[in-house]
Amino acid sequence: MTSITAYEPGASQLLMGNEAIARGALEAGVGFASAYPGTPSSEIIGSLAEVAGEMGIYVEWSVNEKVALEAAAAASFAGVRAIVAMKQNGLNVASDFLMTLNLTGTVAGLVLVLCDDPAALSSTNEQDSRPIAKWADLPLLEPATFQEAKDMTKWAFELSEEIKNVCLIRSVTRVSHARGDVRLGEPMPPGRQARFASTTVGQFTSMFVPVKHSLLHQKLNKTREIFESSPFNWYAGPEKPELLIVTCGSGWYYSLEAVKTLGLESSVGILKLGTTWPLPEKLVQQHLARTDKVLVVEEVDPFLEGNLKELVGDTFSALGPLTFYGKRSGHLPSFGELDPDRVMGAVSSVLGRERAAVDPEYAKKAQALTGGLVQARMIGFCAGCPHRATLWSVKNALKLDGRGGFVTGDIGCYTMGLGPTGFFQLKTTQAMGSGAGLACGFGKLGRLGFSQPVLAVCGDSTFFHAAIPALINGVYNQSNFTLIILDNSATAMTGFQPHPGTGASAVGEPAPKVDLEALCGSLGIRVEVADPFDLQDTTPKLLDLMQDDRGVRVLISRRKCALVRAREEKAAYKVRVDSEKCRGESCGCARLCTRVFQCPGLVWDSESQTAKIDEVICSGCGVCADICPASAIIREVA
């Protein structure tokens, strides 16, 4: 990945949406950036971290989103422009602080980028973050193009400083992770002296809440005025369209394509809004007056739709009757992602036209074009992933124990442990740290007849993020569970960002390494460490911990992420299959390695009816040699 400072000002470059946002921050003279990684937001802070040294800015991976926002707010309070990025779930963690930060306000520009994940492509929910803007009375910008992603970010700092409050930007996966041309401006060094100077009594405290609340509303009114003339809002279409599409963010491209494909440019107009809270009321009313049919196109919830209707309710006498179409009318779904086809369907339906059907062969044709390049593979753990090995031991230990024990999990690569490559072991996955929190509760149900062993799993990064309070709660309240910390020495799922346990900072410098054993041990509980690749050691250790059955126990299952190992180390073993010994599908094996263990490095050769190693994919961990009942998988020290 080329660094975001490598491009000349004035040039037009192909940038990922998140890079455009980061570049926008640089052009605004940002001095401080912080985040906890979360798809699809991670590349914003990631690309700033790469240029931190040359730009003289501070960038950190924070322990969680709340701390990230607090740290960035401190920079703002000290007069330094700051940016924070997080995914929709992260906003929930940060919102406790945000809901008072809005009252105290900010000093230097503070921009909070919220990256939503419609269809939950890489999330446990598909929450729409935008209502926080209305809830917290903060301005909200929604980029529809990559150029806007950069320009809005840069401008958001100006706005934040003008109203002395946080400015929110809402992106979605297809804006953050797609790429498009962006014309660049000049990156600006921070150039400000950081100094905290609280001028007004109680400015940054919880004094005078109602007064501050009222001030907040004044700031919002001022924002509305500014939004009335924002260049991020525009209308394109006939003077009196038969149908007006009001859209924002990713919905704009879909609407544009739908109208064009249907050939309705002369009868359908599009009002594209970049400033979606507070709504620029005069501007919106002026465009609503063009028609009596309005279709609202947005991802995920009917946020804009609801706000438009609210506005129409206030000004009903001026506007006259309007019919709204969108999510409430069922013309568009209020879940999952939108696409041009869905918008075409809605437009056709509203206008009573026959829908231009998509070529029924489309999917097949697309597959034919890409089929040879992309191998069909189910979602699951990589070859040599330590989580597969840990969950293999977990599965066996739970089966052997036989008391109906189960695993509560949370968010990370290991969430995939709910599926076949994790042997369907994770029975709950909600929020960061919630596996441990749930375990606290399950572990206290003994007096109500509960007798199942409870195993909670969390990753190393997740442990620091949100599992520590749950662990302490379990100890304090004398719950009964085993916490397995899946320590793969990386925030793997979001792209190997360092964390407090890795010994490196966001910018790649050495950092103090928090000692998991010592930290857990300080709680006075039993702490064991296991190498998940050593099945002979891990399974009995787990069984023993599970059957200890008193208080909270911790197993640190430690082995580096397979992808990190691939970069840093040479493979431990050269693995091969002795096809003479391989029992294949016969009684005595029934394809344990390729059917049950399911490491992608192992493939079933239907011709020879034996397993074989895919040498390109095999990471050389050697675990499969231990599960083969016929000792047909041979590992030799590489």
Binding site: K399, C587, G588, C589, A590, V596
Partner: protein, 370 residues
Amino acid sequence: MSLEVKGCRELQSEVIARDLCTLCGACVGMCPYLVAYRGRIVALDECNLAQGRCYAFCPRTSLDLDLLSQTVFGVPYAADELGTVQEIVIARARDEGIRSKAQFGGTVTALASFALDQGLIDSAVLTASDEDMLPSGTAAANAAQILGCAGSNFAAAPTLAAFNRHSAGDAQSIGVVAIPCQALALANMRASPLENRNNIDKLKLVIGLFCTWALRYEGLARFLAQKVPLNRIVRFDIPPPPANLFQVFTDSTRIDIPLDDVRPFIRPACDVCIDMTAEFADISVGAAEGVRGWNTLIIRSHAGRELVEAARAKGIIETAPLPEQNLAHLKEASLLKKKRGLRKVIETSGSEDDLLYLKLTSEAVKGLLS
């Protein structure tokens, strides 16, 4: 075998889930799926094969007793009290060292060691207990190892898992000391119609043990642990009636527990059992009621007779005629177990036409139930 061979899924649904598993261990040690753990057979993963040796070998799936009898003894199943019998005597080891360690007359230990010594077998699969009295199968290659397994445990043991594992190795001729369900499973292995066999041809001798029931280890262990640390227990005993006691010995003490207190731990699989005397062994050995320090010894097969005669000739064991009254008692007890077992089978299945795991002619059923 005329009866249907199914797979691991059915083994779980028809046997394990219905509490019919005897824990003999015949299904363990051949594949990565089934394992024995603290008194239970556990399927670690789903095996998707339609037919498996696990199901074929299980003594609680489909037993064609005639076929088994033809396979082992070359005669149809003798649906009487004691199965195929050539001779019944009382016996004991001549070696006092063996007798002092053994439960009764030390006949089993003496004969197993003798078979090893004579080269009839190169190793013996027996049952040993770990420090917590958890029994499991083990392979012994010398007399000292065999003596180490002397004495009864009373908790069911997956001994045949050790046979499956051991027979896959270098051993060529193996003897097994088996309780009745284990002897049945070994007979099943011999009669298996499956192409993929284990190494049953290496089985040269089965010494059967009389058995009225076996206990669930986990329940028993939890119960005993309240009375004495498990690792202090050295052996168990059930003295002859009318004591009605389960005795637990440590190095220094003896704890007497009413037998009725341990009865709740009897495996439900034992309730449907109709074999007290290990009818499919070469020889069967049990206590000799009222003859302290002696065993009852049933010689069933040609191989069994040869072994006993050679051991007698070499002074390894001594034998004496079985008192008439003992034979009557033995038959009575065995028949009672058959009747109880059969009644329980019919009660469980709900029909005299469905005998769960047994293929018995209706005449035999009627004869036993009359």
